[in-house]
């Protein structure tokens, strides 16, 4: 008897339940199913509606009175329209460039700074850390930031979208806390073997913190992809707009501004707003990269958040 039951207990039974767990009541199971379905629907439904509307014809949209829930046909004309002008593809390219270059740069800077600040003996360690933390409390104003960026000649270049937000102190603190918790003995043993600080960081500290670095990388990447306001300030050249800026111009097109309770009649401006399908097509284009990248990082994501929570 014992010989046969032991492996069975170790192996998960097909129901996915451990032997000491009771089967759920039908009501419990049903409630759970309904709740989870609702949750999933809450996430997927908006995406679905956006996708379907972007592929709907003008007649379908008018019949639905706006967003379309049930697809009646696949009409790619909205996508043809937006990729025809070249503006969207250019904006996607610029956003991709900013995201890739920005994330790489931010990660490098953050990891280096965090490691340096996590070593007790490093030069000016306390002062620098205090200085970093101070930026949590005191932010530069709009005008000084603008003056610095303009003064460095960064206006209308992708660097104006990267450098002002290259280091997030929050992320730096998270990574630093992680580095601090790596056992000192490990680092000492590397030192005994003759490794310098950079080698220790590269060979010991980084491999141990892969999860947190992945998560911070994701934070940065999403931040760069979604960044919008810096481009409002620093980009005058319409050809340099990142995708979020273009998205906004499509979504809000044709809405007459209203001023102290009266609409402003803008000659010619509201004449040819993009159709709802076109607007939604731009939304789809904007969302796709995040949807593609997220599953690959997700594995680290849960892990990273938990490690950060316990060790931070």
């Amino acid at each position: 008897m014992t010989v046969t039951t032991e492996p069975a207990a170790r192996r998960r039974p097909r129901s996915g339940r451990a032997p000491w767990e009771e089967p759920p009541s039908p009501l419990g199971a049903a409630t759970k199913a309904v709740l989870l379905t609702l949750l999933v629907a809450a996430v997927l439904l908006p995406l679905w509606v956006v996708l379907v509307t972007s592929l709907a014809s003008r007649e379908t949209i008018d019949a639905a009175g706006g967003m379309v829930l049930v697809p009646r046909e696949v009409d790619p004309s909205a996508y043809l329209t937006i990729f025809n002008g070249g503006q969207i593809s250019r904006a996607v390219w610029i956003s991709t460039l900013v995201t890739v270059v920005g994330t790489a740069l931010s990660l490098t800077l953050t990891v280096l700074a965090a490691y340096g600040l996590s070593r007790p003996g490093s030069v000016g360690h306390r002062g620098l850390l205090f200085f970093f933390l101070l930026t949590f409390l005191i932010f530069p104003g709009l005008v000084p930031s603008y003056l610095v960026v303009a003064g460095l000649g960064l206006k209308d270049s992708i660097w104006s979208l990267i450098l002002p937000s290259a280091i997030s102190v929050f992320n730096l603190v998270v990574i630093r806390a992680f580095f601090l918790n790596i056992p000192g003995e490990l680092l000492d043993s590397a030192r005994v073997d003759g490794a310098g600080e950079l080698r220790i960081l590269w060979r010991i500290a980084l491999p141990l913190s892969r999860a947190v670095v992945a998560v911070v990388g994701l934070f940065y990447a999403v931040g760069y992809w979604n960044a919008y306001f810096n481009s409002v300030l620093y980009i005058d050249d319409n050809d340099m707009f990142p995708i979020q800026r273009v998205l906004q111009s499509y979504i809000l097109a044709g809405q007459s501004p209203s001023v102290s309770g009266a609409a402003v009649s803008l000659p010619g401006i509201t004449a040819y707003p993009p159709t709802l399908a076109v607007k939604m097509a731009v939304v789809v284009v904007t969302v796709i990269p995040a949807v593609i990248v997220f599953p690959f990082v997700q594995r680290h994501f849960t892990k990273g958040v938990i490690t950060g929570a316990v060790k931070g």
């Binding site: 003008r58 007649e59 949209i61 008018d62 639905a64 009175g65 706006g66 002008g85 070249g86 503006q87 005191i138 932010f139 530069p140 104003g141 709009l142 005008v143 000084p144 930031s145 603008y146 003056l147 610095v148 303009a150 919008y228 306001f229 810096n230 409002v232 300030l233 005058d236 050249d237 319409n238 050809d239 707009f241 800026r245 273009v246 906004q248 111009s249 499509y250 809000l252 097109a253 044709g254 809405q255 007459s256 501004p257 001023v259 102290s260 309770g261 009266a262 609409a263 402003v264 009649s265 803008l266 000659p267 010619g268 401006i269 509201t270 004449a271 040819y272 707003p273 993009p274 709802l276």
Partner: protein, 555 residues
């Protein structure tokens, strides 16, 4: 969609200054109040007499006799496109100066930039100098402006919408420090050098004076009314229903039109129009015994609020409008899910043209206005120009002359070749000519044009018949000419007001509370409490400010 960037507010800047890091904040000399209004701002008012003495002498430049002349601030209407065009500008405006950088607002996808845009190339060739436009999103224009003005980094020509100007604290100071004083170039008969700028209405120029000096070229409005209550006349006709002539009939009509089972409701947002039907002023009116009365104190406002709240309570308003501020009422209206909603008259032609392609019978019309309880309605409006174009300071007399000649070209009137090129581009490329001779934009035209020249040059507004909306000009001007007599007189016309900060920041929260009453989230009886709070926390200050401005001008 409020942009959020850590550290973008005046408050934090004050903190900076406090702890002695303020040098960065005030880099570059002066201390222009760049961000939002400072709490201490008491507002200023420039006297009307000082304004009148610096205005250009008005000299109309009409090339063609209008078919439907517009009264006062109403544009002239033309029912046919002229077969013969005239050269309005004989001398090339550009003298080979460097490219002119401009910035103007735009509400929509931005067209390609200089070098990739054949429309810009065509117009620039005509101008003899390159105009290099930067179109910035109109909804976030204020953020951009604040940074630019604060950093003193402005383009050669900068177009600013009037409502953004009102939001910028101490704008007179900014104008003086950053923009060329145009008084000597354009005052009195000097304006004759730029005949089409001189043809812009004096009513618009009056608003272009800051600190007693002429600081900008105005872009006059082509429709002074704030709102119209649009209705789907095709749907009413189909149902055999007539336009209402009283609030009671409007309510009754709403009940007949609403059919939730079919997903149809009578109304979207209508409150501003209802206030006008009830004869309520937009903000202030003179009390018979002297002093000013705010609209909240007018019994007509309470009546309008009660009436509209009843529309909500009776379920005649579309649920999207009930539940959110940002319902896409245009789309609901196009689809016939709502039959009436208020919008600016600027929305009319575009929607009519667009929807006729899908539904030939589509017919949107402003509802004829009517009064309540036998009274007369009042229509809100103003002759305030839509935009102002400022010239960068310190470019030298010759360059300013070149810029003004370019603006003059951009203001060329209807019937000229310049007008056609500016509004429609090149024939065969950006537009094709319909059978009646009127231009219709091509796909390329729509993509490449963003009012790059129109928005900076003022221009005398006109309405021209176009093939896709054949009745629009008559209907538009018909509505205006019929109702212009009902338009409220602007007590402050020609007085430049920079409103006290306490007043400005009070408006939105109060509106939000009133919206709650409309939607039935607060009882109607709360109006008294809302009013009381309004006057206690800045309303009275606003009243004193406005009364003083009138008294100073002897009105």
């Amino acid at each position: 969609m409020k942009p959020s960037l850590p550290g973008v507010s005046t408050d934090r800047r004050s903190v900076l200054r406090l702890i002695g890091l303020g040098t960065a904040a005030t880099l570059g000399g002066g201390t222009l109040a760049a961000c939002s209004k400072e709490a201490g701002s008491k507002g200023t008012a420039t006297k009307a007499d000082a304004i009148r003495s610096v205005l250009p002498t008005y000299k109309p430049a009409e090339l063609l006799k209008p078919d439907i002349p517009g009264e006062g601030p109403i544009p002239d209407g033309y029912l046919a496109y002229p077969r013969q065009l005239v050269d309005a500008v004989t001398e090339q405006p550009g003298r080979g100066g460097p490219a002119i950088r401009t910035m103007s607002p735009w509400w929509g996808p931005t067209p390609p930039t200089l070098g990739k845009n054949s429309y810009l190339a065509a117009v620039n060739a005509k101008l003899g100098v390159d105009v290099d436009p930067s179109l910035q999103d109109g909804t976030t224009y204020a953020d951009k402006l604040n940074a630019m003005l604060g950093a003193r980094d402005v383009p050669d020509l900068l177009s600013i919408p009037n409502w953004e100007v009102d939001k910028i604290a101490r704008f007179s100071d900014a104008a003086k420090a950053l923009f060329e004083d145009l008084t000597d170039h354009l005052k009195g008969d000097a304006a004759a050098t730029y005949p089409y700028l001189a043809s812009l209405p004096t009513g618009a120029w009056e608003y272009s004076v800051w600190g007693g000096r002429l600081a900008a070229v105005p872009f006059p409005t082509d429709g002074p009314f704030g709102w119209a209550l649009f209705h789907r006349k095709d749907l009413l006709d189909k149902a055999g229903l007539a336009a209402p002539t009283s609030p009671e009939e409007l309510h009754e009509l709403g009940r007949k039109l609403t059919d939730p089972a079919k997903g149809v409701w009578a109304f979207g947002t209508v409150f501003d129009m209802v206030q006008q039907f009830f004869g309520c002023q937009q903000i202030w009116r003179k009390k018979p015994g002297g002093g000013l009365e705010h609209k909240y104190e007018n019994p007509a406002f309470a009546a309008a609020l009660e009436f509209t709240a009843k529309l909500f309570a009776d379920g005649l308003v579309h649920p999207d409008t009930v539940s959110s501020k940002g319902a896409d009422e245009k789309q609901l209206f196009k689809s016939g899910k709502i039959v009436m909603y208020q919008d600016g008259l600027g929305a009319w032609q575009g929607m009519q043209s667009e929807q006729t392609k899908v539904l030939p019978s589509f017919n949107m019309q402003p509802l004829p206005v009517f009064g309540a309880n036998g009274g007369k309605p009042l229509i809100w409006g103003s002759e305030k120009p839509i935009f102002f174009t400022f010239v960068k300071k310190g470019l030298g007399k010759d360059r300013v002359g070149e810029l003004l000649r370019v603006l003059n070209w951009c203001a060329a009137p209807f019937g000229s070749r310049e007008f056609e090129l500016r509004e429609y581009g090149v024939e065969g490329k950006h537009f094709t000519r319909s059978a009646d001779g009127s231009p219709a934009l091509t796909e390329l035209g729509r993509r490449e044009m963003g009012a790059q020249y129109t928005h900076i040059g003022g221009r005398v507004p006109v309405k021209v018949r176009s093939a896709d909306t054949p009745n629009y000009v008559q209907e538009y001007l018909g509505y205006y000419n019929k109702n212009i007599g009902l338009m409220e007189k602007d007590l402050f016309a020609g007085i430049k007001l920079e409103l006290p900060a306490n007043w400005s920041k009070l408006l939105q929260p109060t509106e939000d509370k009133l919206r709650d009453i409309l939607r039935g989230r607060r009882p109607l009886s709360d109006l008294e409490a809302v009013k009381k709070e309004f006057f206690a926390t800045g309303g009275e200050e606003g009243r004193a400010f406005h009364e003083k401005a009138l008294a100073d001008n002897g009105r």
